[in-house]
Amino acid sequence: MYKWFLVRRYLHTKLIAFFGIAAVMLCVAMVLVVMSVMGGFLDTVRARSRGLHSEIVVDNGTMQGFPYYAEFTEHLKKELPDVVRLTTPVIWTYGIFRVPRTNFTKPARILGIKLEEYVQVNDFERGLHYDKYFPGTTHLGGQKMPVAGFDASGRLLLPEELESAHRKWRESETDPDKVAEFDRDPFAKTFYPDITPMIPAERVFAVASAEPGYEGPELPGIIVGCDVINYRRPDGNFDRYYARGAQVALTLMPLSPAGNPTGEPPIAMALRYADDSRTGIFEIDSLAVYVGIDLLQERLAMNVQPLAEGGFTKPRINQLLIALHDGVDLNGARDRIADEWTTFRATIEPEMTEVEASLLQHLEVYTWEDLQRSFIQAVEKEKVLVTFLFGMISMVAIVLIGCIFYMIVEKKTRDIGILKALGASGQGIAGLFIAYAGAVGVVGSILGIGLGCLFVWNINGIQDWLASLNPQLRVWSPEVYSFDRIPEVVKRADAIWVASVAVLSSMVGSIIPALIAARVWPVRALRYE
């Protein structure tokens, strides 16, 4: 009993114990921060990777794409209705994104999608900016530029379609803070071409002096990656310089089914900036733009084309995204879809041209994990490595605890003698110091978890504050780490694991001093004052 009693008393009264507690606290906080940030990084990679694609992706790995996707989709619907929930085709190519009448040009990865299907197979909709406040108004079809105007009382108004969509958002938004945040300054976030050409803002609309309405010719819509068209502020938010519906342009080069340039001049497309998208992965948000698949298919000559020898080509796509029903095993579904592809391919074998056969030769079925495996595994290894390295550094704490407890034993030699004179055994004395170290570990771990949690939960705020003092202190660069924000989640299991290891390490660190204490001969400890 005396062990626990004295441990509690020593914890309160021994200043030197606070150094041990501080060492454990800092080590626990350090390892927890590393594990949480790296773990959050890994989880974000997984979640974002999952949200980028659908569960299953069919791809032949070429820019020319592959034909027979519509027929295969029908085949899947018929053969695997309990597995396949939805399919949607995707075309991608590379081009140049421009804003006319400015010198704004950027390289772009252009994706042709069916927006209404695409948002059902992945998390794309969650990252749409205007669609959040004006739900249902973002589309890739023909559209004019929406222009805000004024009502009779001078209040700024958007066209009715947008006002109505916004009312719908307000009614459905469950978080009053978000509505309040919108209401605080809705009109300052407006693009006034006549007053000042550029006002950094979040929700930007052009303004006319008359009634609200639409301006300009009807052009196909384009959704632009948020880092392509906007300026990212140091705090991670964006300044939008272009009004919604502003005219932009894409230039791209069509390829023949064999993969050669068609010889035609590059194609320029005029489009309207319908929305911007934020997946949270910088490589995507700084490169990707999204247009309607029919438009891109036509411009890339991947639609039905007449053949010189008569007949027509089959339309082509680059990827077929497949969403599964809930609860369907991912890898099992991939294997079954691959089997169905083999079966389907046999049925179309007789009618395939030579080029089509070559495009279908390397068609593969992937899960989203297959596609991201190399990236995820790299991050997993990085997490293990960094945690290991910081864990090794934390081993210093064991040595420190050893030193501190050696000093405590030296200082408490007389107490050890007293306790032995009162009947305490050597084992009991060793247990006292190991329990004392364990208590130091427990208190240090609790404080370390608290400190680590506080740090992780506020890590972006801390970085923003440091960056406000000196931009060079911004350590998390979205260009380097893919994500625009540092992960801020501490997992309970990580905290328990780190704390357990810390307590155990503290106890291990105290073993040698505890054994020295156990061997103290009472008469020598008590002989003199």
Partner: protein
């Protein structure tokens, strides 16, 4: 004739100090009868404290034996010797040796804590605290229960040490110059307290070099250069064989 409660036979002990070996005890035999107040006298360096430490199993002799109620202490396990120190004897030191972080009450209760596993403490803690408080009342410190040792005078500290030594109702009290660090008046108070416990039947072995202190004892042993030079009765012998716990109602 009563059987000795403690018997030391031919105790030898030497210490190495640098290159020199000092033979402190050169074959000391002494026995203590129940209820006896025995004083061990001798000049500084005569080996009296070493003898007391061996009798209290705080040290191990180079040769010889110490029997407590007929059982040789040094042929027993260290754990059993720990039990002996905890239950069968109580030690009072010249320099009090109280634990500075603990209150007076906690210091006195400490031997009880040492002797009990944590799972038994819960049910016995209240009784232990009550016993400690009662023992402190016996030594006249009932007003000082929550004080720390550094808030007490030397005499008060020694009273706490005596209360601590007797909390487990030991058969034998070993006192190593308990007045050696106190002024005459305060030392006199401590001697009167020990005398009262002796009167009540507590067996006491006390080390001192003060002849006036030795006059309180039933018997005295004079050590010189590591051997017993003289053993003399100062009074007619022990008057009781009962331990103090019975006599003072503890």
């Amino acid at each position: 004739m009563p059987q000795p409660i403690l018997r030391a036979r031919n105790l030898q002990k030497s210490y190495t100090m640098g290159r020199a070996t000092v033979r402190v005890l050169r074959g000391v035999s002494v026995s203590v009868e129940p209820g006896e107040f025995l004083v061990v006298m001798g000049a500084s360096g005569s080996g009296k404290s070493t003898l007391l430490h061996l009798l209290g199993a705080l040290d191990v002799p180079d040769a010889g034996s110490v029997e407590f109620r007929g059982a040789d202490l040094f042929s027993q396990s260290p754990a059993r010797r720990g039990e002996y120190r905890n239950r069968d004897i109580g030690f009072v030191f010249q320099f009090y040796h109280l634990l500075p972080e603990l209150s007076v009450l906690e210091n006195v209760a400490m031997p009880r804590m040492v002797g009990l596993p944590a799972w038994k403490w819960g049910s016995l803690a209240k009784a232990a605290r009550a016993d400690a408080a009662e023992m402190l009342e016996r030594v006249g410190l009932s007003e000082r229960l929550s004080h720390r040792p550094n808030e007490l005078s030397g005499g008060e500290r020694q009273r706490v040490a005596i209360a601590r030594a007797l909390i487990n109702r030991p058969a034998l009290l070993l006192a190593d110059e308990p007045t050696g660090n106190l002024d005459e008046a305060t030392g006199g108070g401590i001697l009167r307290l020990l005398g009262a416990f002796s009167q009540s039947g507590q067996t006491i072995v006390m080390v001192t070099h003060d002849a006036k202190v030795a006059a309180q004892a039933h018997r005295r042993v004079l050590l010189s250069e590591g051997v017993v030079r003289e053993a003399a009765l100062t009074v007619s012998g022990p008057r009781s064989v009962e331990p103090i716990a019975t006599k003072v109602g503890l």
